[in-house]
Amino acid sequence: MEANAPIVKFHSVAKRYGDGALVLDGIDLSVETGDFVTLIGPSGCGKSTVLKLVSGLSPWTTGEVTVAGQAPRQARDRQSCIFQDATLLPWLTAQANVELPMRLRGENTAVRRARAAEMLSLVRLNDARDFYPRQLSGGMKMRVSIARALSVAPELLLLDEPFGALDEMTRNHLNEELLALRARAPFTAIFVTHSVSEAVFLSNRIFVMAARPGRFQAEVRVEFPCPRRPELREQPEFQAKVNEVSRLLHQVEGVEVR
């Protein structure tokens, strides 16, 4: 696909669940191919709902959402998702879990075996292939989940607070691994998080959202070159970006408190 063509487009989208209040209002968004977009904001601002609309799990109320020019449901083959929980099937081994999306797409056994093994070695879980999820630590489970999502070589990856439940060190490692994987097989990403430093480290565009109704308050561009190394976190310009986003976030939350 041509670089910088929009892969996800929101055109003045609003969303309410049933007869409830508006969860999202006036959302305009154009995610370009190669973007790493992060949505950050207070709880209940509809960050995750944006992902649900993109994946076609939930319908929008007014406006229009397209993925690669199609309705979201038609574009599911282009996307993968990583959830807050690793969402592994407990009765399958790590290997079989990574194979699952390929299995659902009817890929033949030999291909998916080889591909899953390759993905697991990329996330450094060679030795854990035959382990069941309960035998894995939180970080390992999440790595299996990443391997599973990337096994189908998605154009678009949706990440719904995937590292929120992990300790900071594991989270930093996984951030770095995610960028390394992305350098090997590029994908466009929409990422939801509560962590400002994670957002700054990973993305090139950050949208700060406000709640009630969920809306975009500000966009921050992050121009650090790739590949990004762990040392970046100690640079003053990194800290400056974190402060900028935090300030915006405080303003938004201030509005909410009042």
Partner: protein, 264 residues
Amino acid sequence: MKRASAIWGWILPVVTGAMIIALWYGVRVVTGMQSWILPTPLEVLQAAVHERQLLLAAAGNTAVGALLGFTLAGVAGWVTSIVLGSSLSLRRSLYPWLLVLQMTPVIVLTPIIVLWAGAGLPGIVTVTFLISYFPVVANMTQGLLSTDRNLVALFRMSNASRFQELLLLRVPSALPYFLAGLRIAATLAPIGAIFGEYMVGSSAGGTGGLGFLVYSYNTQIKIPALFATALTSCLLGFIFVAGVALFNWAVLHKWHDSYEQPDR
């Protein structure tokens, strides 16, 4: 620590058992009851040894009826649950009537069962089936409906068909529930078979199961032998429950949280 706790797991029930036997003897001695009203544990054991051939043959017959009814309940329960779990309207139409079936005392149905299925094994299997079917359906259906919502979202996002969702997600995740249902069914199946033999079998000569022995010993006032029959029935029940526990272990121990995790 673990070893000690395992040893206590054996000691405590044995101690309780010994206390119950002591109490049993005590009641007998204090009240001075006749042996044909309350036999001593020793007399029960003696009767069991004396009647061992009859008891064993009868237990074998009962086991066949119980196993057939139990297997049928397991298979039919599995299939019914999948039907119920796959559609809300089917669930709404059928579930109340399954409840009605469950609420109807089997004793009321027995004459009808004899009339339709015939006396002997077919009737006994039917009674066993009726008693053990519902727990399987109730548990497994609950399991099919309790699938983790995030996993369902994962399947939907991967464009899984409804059939794939059922086969690869809902059924495996309902497995622990199904097995819980089977465990209840396993405690009920021998009881169902014995009750069936007592009601159905005795009315037509019987197949000579434990239920028939109950009838026969009762009319002969062989009370110690009656106690021995109760003991045999318990043992049969234990074998059923142990069988399901083994099956449960075989299916779940590798991945399910109910089994202790291997040390790593």
